[in-house]
């Protein structure tokens, strides 16, 4: 059975959920093989085995970091040369996409972005135009390189004892090398990333003032959610751009999306309408967000949201 290469997204060996999701899917398509770059190989290998990775191709040591793109591309290329895979799966994160497309360009292989489903013949499903259109496409040249949206696939464990294969690579800095001189953490609420979160609570213009994002953050924390923001809120400088959901921000598809004080203009819906469940709080009964909400509250968010937060905390005990 042909192998399916999966680039491991991790933080010092702790797997990101999307890695387990990709490996679970890879088991349906062929024999899953992980490509690991960076530190933490030992703990990662155990977790990768639980998700069914039969082989772990590793590039570790001096210069091998998963924080930069070229080491990822070089490791993927070396692993692909060995494994001759039927497909390469990479997470649809900023870094993952950067690596995936460089691999595709280098090898002359076709690449598809933001895949949300794959059938046994590697026919890919993508949501385009903000989820308004569902497209089926396939790669017609070379080995398909597919970037996979986080939360597209469930995780099912299927433990195996992986064989670790050291790719034996020596990192040589070429003219296209990028160096990382600093890693700066500005905010740490312990909240999940917007792109990967299962629940997102987003705030918009209805909050009236940047300080009122505290209401959104409190509800998010009660639900264990990430915080999102509408374009209006970001453009007004109320919340940082990396939290923006919509056409000029992130496209998300969480299990639950809570829209607070967001009217739901088309450009916002384009970023969240594929969410599994949508609820909204808005004072305007005519707001378009209600037309796509599974549950809407027409009311004053300054009254409704604090009571909701209180109730969530109470029920979660």
């Amino acid at each position: 059975m042909a192998s399916i290469l999966v680039l491991v997204e991790h933080e010092e060996g702790n797997l990101k959920k999307v890695t387990a999701q990709m490996l679970t899917k890879a088991r349906e398509l062929g024999e899953p093989a992980a490509v690991f770059v960076g530190e933490g190989l030992r703990s990662a290998t155990e977790a990768l085995g639980r998700c069914g990775a039969r082989t772990v191709y590793a590039a570790t040591g001096e210069g091998w970091t998963n924080q930069l793109t070229l080491p990822l591309v070089d490791a993927l290329e070396a692993a692909a040369d060995r494994a001759d895979p039927a497909a390469v799966l990479v997470a649809s994160t900023a870094g993952g996409k950067d690596a995936a497309v460089r691999l595709a360009a280098r090898k002359g292989w076709g690449v598809l972005a933001d895949v949300v489903d794959l059938d046994g013949d590697l026919l890919a499903t993508q949501n385009v135009f903000g989820g308004a259109t569902i497209v089926h496409s396939r790669v017609t040249k070379g080995t398909p390189v597919l970037t996979i949206k986080p939360n597209a696939f469930p995780v099912e464990e299927s433990p195996v004892e992986p064989q670790v294969v050291d790719l034996g690579l020596v990192r040589q800095a070429g003219p296209s090398e990028v160096r990382m001189t600093e890693h700066v953490v500005e905010e740490r609420g312990g909240r999940p990333d917007v792109a990967e979160a299962e629940i997102i609570v987003s705030g918009g213009r209805g909050l009236q003032d940047p300080s009122n994002f505290a209401l959104v953050e409190a509800l998010a924390d009660a639900l264990g959610a990430a915080v999102g923001a509408s374009r209006a809120a970001v453009d007004a400088g109320w919340y940082p751009h990396q939290h923006q959901v919509g056409q000029t921000g992130k496209t998300v598809s969480p299990q639950l999306y809570v829209a607070v004080g967001i009217s739901g203009a088309i450009q916002h819906r384009a970023g969240m309408q594929t969410s599994k469940t949508i609820v909204a709080v808005n004072k305007d009964a005519e707001a378009p967000i209600f037309s796509i909400s599974d549950f809407g509250v027409v009311g004053d968010l300054f009254k409704v949201v604090p009571r909701l937060t209180e109730e969530v905390v109470k029920r979660k005990g």
Binding site: V73, A100, A105, V111, F129, S137, V234, K303
Partner: protein
């Protein structure tokens, strides 16, 4: 320093985008089109770079002749000249073909740095700038919320979920910038008038020595098999709050019924 900035013509943000059933490519002719919104930040950043270190700004656009207003729009913000790559054979180009054509045009212009928007609002793949860097054999600095060129070193702050990474590379390099890196200027009346007389150089595939069969639909490495509109979501329950926030309890009940709490 020679700064090249890429721009793309896309459907208006508020327009309903659709695929043309005949060739399964984006229908750009039946909708209002604009310059890709993120490209405004790229043009602004290129102009600021020129203000800081001197030199010239060249706009690069690949697209049919109907993309000319997008090029004029970019020029009206202040760049010195533009390069327009158009050729009927380019219709239906995928990410890799697009990047290969842009890379070939960039080689002819020989800039010290390339600035691109992080994504276009139509296809939204965020892949082209990285692929251009790979074809050129240049460093790719992707997702910048700050850009500084310091002698031969190109340095960015790469946006992350929790903050930023400082990345640097030796030029020439390809940089993609995110929305919010700056406050793009509005073209002045003088700028709009001046843009009309700025030189726009046309390149065909022949000028770039690219085989027409290797790009467009014929050269694509992937194909759209079929597409369907997403069935519309149905509006669900609505609770009207009486003014005391008590409808929150109904919402909580709903969330509990779906096992979120």
């Amino acid at each position: 320093m020679k700064i090249l900035v890429t721009v793309k013509r896309v459907p208006d943000t508020a327009a309903e985008k659709r695929l043309d059933p005949a060739d399964k490519t984006l229908d750009r002719e039946s909708v209002e089109t604009i310059m890709n919104p993120v490209d405004e930040y790229a043009v602004e950043e290129a102009l600021r770079l020129k203000d800081a270190v001197g030199g010239e700004v060249v706009v690069l656009c690949m697209g049919p002749s109907s993309a000319l207003p997008t090029i004029r729009k970019a020029l009206s913000m202040g760049p010195d000249s533009a390069v327009h790559v158009h050729d009927d054979a380019l219709h239906g180009s995928d990410v890799l073909s697009t990047a290969r054509v842009l890379a070939a045009a960039i080689r002819k212009v020989e800039p010290d740095v390339v600035v691109s928007g992080s994504e276009s609002t139509d296809a939204r793949t965020s892949l082209v700038a990285s692929a251009v860097a790979e074809y050129l054999g240049w460093p790719g600095l992707i997702g910048a919320k700050k850009l500084v060129v310091d002698g031969g070193t190109v340095r960015i702050h790469r946006e992350t979920e929790a903050g930023y990474d400082v990345l640097e590379a030796s030029g020439p390099a390809v940089v993609s910038v995110v929305k919010g890196i700056n406050e793009p200027r509005y073209p002045s009346f003088k700028g709009i008038m001046a843009a009309k007389s700025r030189p726009v150089t046309d390149y065909s595939l022949g000028d770039l020595e690219i085989d027409p069969d290797s790009v467009g639909a014929a050269g694509a490495a992937c194909e759209v098999v079929d597409f369907t509109p997403r069935p519309p979501r149905e509006a669900g329950q609505v609770a009207k709050d009486g003014g005391d926030g008590a409808a929150a309890l109904e919402l909580a009940e709903f969330l509990a019924s779906r096992k979120f709490i």
